[in-house]
C-alpha cells in the first residue's frame, strides 16, 4: 500500500477546493447520501434540461479528502452529458474502484480519464472505498428520483 497512490495531488487539490460546491439554482433533482460509519453526508443537486441532459450538477457535504475529491471530479466530468452516458461513466468508475483500477469508458478523453483515475488508488484501501463511491451513488439516486437517503451500509 502506498499513501502517494491514495493521496495524489489531484485528489488533495480537489479535496481542498472542491468544484461545484453548493446548491445550484433551479435544480430539478436532488438526493442525500449518508455514511453511518463516519457520519459523512452528501447532498447532490442536479438540473436536467428538457433533453434530459445534465445542465448543472452541484453538491453540499462534509467529508474526507477522498469523498470531496470524488464528488468534485464527478460534477466536472458529468456536466453536459445525457443520463445514459452519465450512468455508463458511473458504472465504469465503480468498476475501477472495486475491481480493475482501470477506467474503461468511451465517453471520456485522456485528460478526463487521468483525472478520474487519480481515485483508483482507493481500491487498495478497502475501508475507504465507500468514501469514493458515496457521491456517485447519491447522483444515481437523484437521477432515478429515489426518495430514500443513500446509505453506504446498504448499497453495493
Amino acid at each position: 500500500m502506498d499513501l502517494k497512490q491514495l493521496y495524489q495531488d489531484i485528489i488533495l487539490e480537489h479535496g481542498k477546493s472542491p468544484r461545484n460546491l453548493g446548491k445550484c439554482e433551479g435544480y430539478s433533482h436532488e438526493a442525500k447520501g449518508y455514511n453511518p460509519l463516519c457520519g459523512d453526508k452528501v447532498h447532490v443537486y442536479l438540473k436536467l434540461n428538457t433533453e434530459k441532459k445534465v445542465e448543472n450538477l452541484t453538491f453540499e457535504g462534509d467529508g474526507c479528502a477522498i469523498s470531496l475529491a470524488s464528488a468534485s471530479i464527478m460534477t466536472e466530468l458529468v456536466k453536459g452529458r445525457s443520463i445514459n452516458d452519465t450512468k455508463e461513466i458511473m458504472s465504469a468508475f465503480l468498476n475501477m474502484i472495486k475491481n480493475t483500477s482501470e477506467m474503461n469508458s468511451n465517453h471520456l478523453d485522456d485528460d478526463q480519464k487521468t483525472k478520474i483515475m487519480s481515485l483508483s488508488g482507493v481500491k487498495q484501501f478497502p475501508m475507504r472505498v465507500k468514501c469514493a463511491t458515496l457521491s456517485w451513488h447519491t447522483l444515481n439516486s437523484a437521477m432515478d428520483e429515489k426518495k430514500e437517503e443513500v446509505n453506504t451500509e446498504v448499497m453495493d
Binding site: L3, L37, C38, G39, K41, C64
Partner: protein, 406 residues
C-alpha cells in the same frame, strides 16, 4: 510488575503493521490481550472444556467451579456485596439492555422520564429510546459545558416527580471526562431515583467501587479490560435483581417448569439463560489477575503520565484542536486538525503502524453538540509508552506534510 516492560507480555506487539512496529492507541475501542489471557483460553479448550452447571462429570464440575471463581473475582474487583449481584451477559451493551428492558417493563409508563447525558455512547441511549418507542417514555439529556463536563446544576433541574431512572457514563469515550458518579447518585437517591452507570470505559482505567458509589446498576465489558470478547458484566443491587422480571428465557434460568407454571432460578442464574460464553468467562479471571498484579494505583499513575505527555506534545502541533478539557480527564484524547478530515488522518497514521480511531465513536449526540461530524481519537492502554506518543506525533507531522499544512 514493571509497568515499563509490560508491552512484552502482549504478543501482538511483536507483529509488524504495514512493515512498522504496532503503536496501538485504540484501547477505548478494545484492548489487546496479554499472553496469560490467550494461554488460558487455549488451555481451557485444550484440557478442560465442558459446559457448566448441567452435568455431574468431572469436567463439568471443574468448569462450573472455574466459572464461579470468575464471578467472585469480579465481585471483589468492583467491591460488590455478593456473588448474586454479578450477572454475565454477552457484552456491556447487553448488560444495559437487560436493565432498560426489565426495568422498563416493570416501572416505565407513558410520560415517565429517563435522564441520560450528552456524553452517552449509543449503547446507553438506544436501549432507553426503545422505551420511548414502546412505552411512551420521555428522555431528558443532561447538558455538558464546553470543557466536556456535565453541568450538575442543570442535571438537578431535570428531576421531576416523573423521573424513574438516571443512566450515565462513568467515563466519556470521546472527551475522557471522568464523571462524578458518587455525587450524581446522591442527588438521584435523594429523589428516590435509581442510577445505572455505564462503566465500559472506566473499569479498565480507574478505581471502581460500586459499594462506595452506591449506584444501583453498573455495566461493563471484559474485552476492554484486557479480557476476551463475548463477555459483559452487569452489577446490580440484589434488591433490583430480585424485584425485576427475567430478561432472556431458556435453560439454566429456571428452577421448576410445569405446563401451567414456571419458577425461575435464584440469582444470579435467573439472568443467565442458555449456554454462556463459558471459556471466555473463565478466561476473564486471568485478565482480572493481570490487572491486580499491576495494581490500579500503578496503572492510573502510568496512564496519567502517558496521557499528560500526549496532551503536552499534541498541543504543540499547529492547527490541532483537542476536544474538551474536563476537570478530571482519563487517557482518551479526541482531536481535529484543521484542513484534514479524521478519516484521512487515520488512514495515513495506519501506514505508520499507528492505530487510532476516527469517526463519531458511537457518540453522535455529543458530536452534534460540538458541531462536528467526526473526530480522530487516541486512547491509552496499560501498554502504551512515551515512545508510542513520539511515533504518533511524527505520523501526524507526516499527515500535515502530505496535506501541505503550515
Amino acid at each position: 510488575m514493571n509497568i515499563e516492560n509490560i508491552k512484552s507480555q502482549f504478543p501482538i506487539f511483536s507483529k509488524k503493521i504495514n512493515g512498522k512496529p504496532l503503536v496501538y492507541l485504540d484501547s477505548s475501542n478494545s484492548s489487546q490481550k496479554p499472553m496469560c489471557v490467550i494461554n488460558r483460553l487455549n488451555d481451557f479448550y485444550k484440557n478442560e472444556f465442558s459446559n457448566i452447571g448441567r452435568s455431574i462429570h468431572s469436567l463439568a464440575i471443574n468448569a462450573t467451579n472455574k466459572f464461579e471463581e470468575t464471578r467472585i473475582s469480579v465481585k471483589n474487583f468492583i467491591n460488590a456485596n455478593s456473588r448474586e449481584e454479578i450477572i454475565f451477559t454477552k457484552n456491556g451493551t447487553e448488560a444495559i439492555n437487560l436493565v432498560a428492558t426489565t426495568f422498563g417493563q416493570q416501572n416505565i409508563e407513558k410520560g415517565d422520564e429517563i435522564i441520560i447525558t450528552e456524553l452517552e455512547h449509543h449503547s446507553n441511549y438506544v436501549p432507553w429510546h426503545f422505551l420511548r418507542e414502546t412505552r411512551g417514555a420521555i428522555i431528558k439529556f443532561a447538558p455538558i459545558n464546553e470543557d466536556g463536563d456535565i453541568i450538575i446544576d442543570k442535571l438537578k433541574e431535570l428531576f421531576t416527580s416523573k423521573t424513574k431512572i438516571v443512566a450515565i457514563t462513568h467515563l466519556s469515550n470521546v472527551t475522557g471526562t471522568i464523571v462524578p458518579i458518587k455525587e450524581i447518585v446522591e442527588i438521584a437517591h435523594k429523589k428516590n431515583v435509581p442510577v445505572l452507570v455505564d462503566g465500559c470505559q472506566s473499569v479498565p482505567h480507574i478505581k471502581v467501587d460500586v459499594t462506595d458509589l452506591d449506584c444501583d446498576f453498573y455495566a461493563f465489558s471484559a474485552h476492554k479490560v484486557y479480557g476476551p470478547t463475548g463477555v459483559g458484566i452487569l452489577y446490580a443491587k440484589k434488591k433490583w435483581l430480585e424485584r425485576l422480571p427475567p430478561y432472556i428465557g431458556g435453560g439454566a434460568m429456571i428452577s421448576e417448569v410445569k405446563k401451567d407454571k414456571i419458577i425461575y432460578a435464584p440469582l444470579p442464574e435467573k439472568y443467565e439463560a442458555g449456554t454462556m460464553p463459558t471459556a471466555e468467562v473463565i478466561t476473564f479471571n486471568e485478565s482480572l489477575k493481570f490487572m491486580q498484579s499491576i495494581g490500579k494505583d500503578n496503572l492510573m499513575k502510568h496512564e496519567k503520565e502517558i496521557t499528560n505527555y500526549a496532551l503536552e506534545k499534541l498541543r504543540k502541533i499547529n492547527s490541532i484542536k483537542i476536544i474538551g478539557n474536563p476537570k478530571n480527564k482519563a487517557g482518551v484524547i479526541a482531536f481535529t486538525i484543521k484542513g484534514i478530515h479524521p478519516h484521512d488522518i487515520a488512514t495515513i497514521l495506519d501506514e505508520d503502524g499507528v492505530a487510532i480511531r476516527a469517526g463519531h465513536h458511537c457518540c453522535q449526540i455529543l458530536h452534534q453538540k460540538l458541531n462536528l461530524t467526526a473526530t480522530a481519537r487516541v486512547s491509552i492502554g496499560v501498554y502504551n509508552t512515551k515512545d508510542d506518543i513520539d511515533i504518533l506525533c511524527k505520523a501526524i507531522e507526516n499527515c500535515r506534510k502530505i496535506f501541505e499544512l503550515k
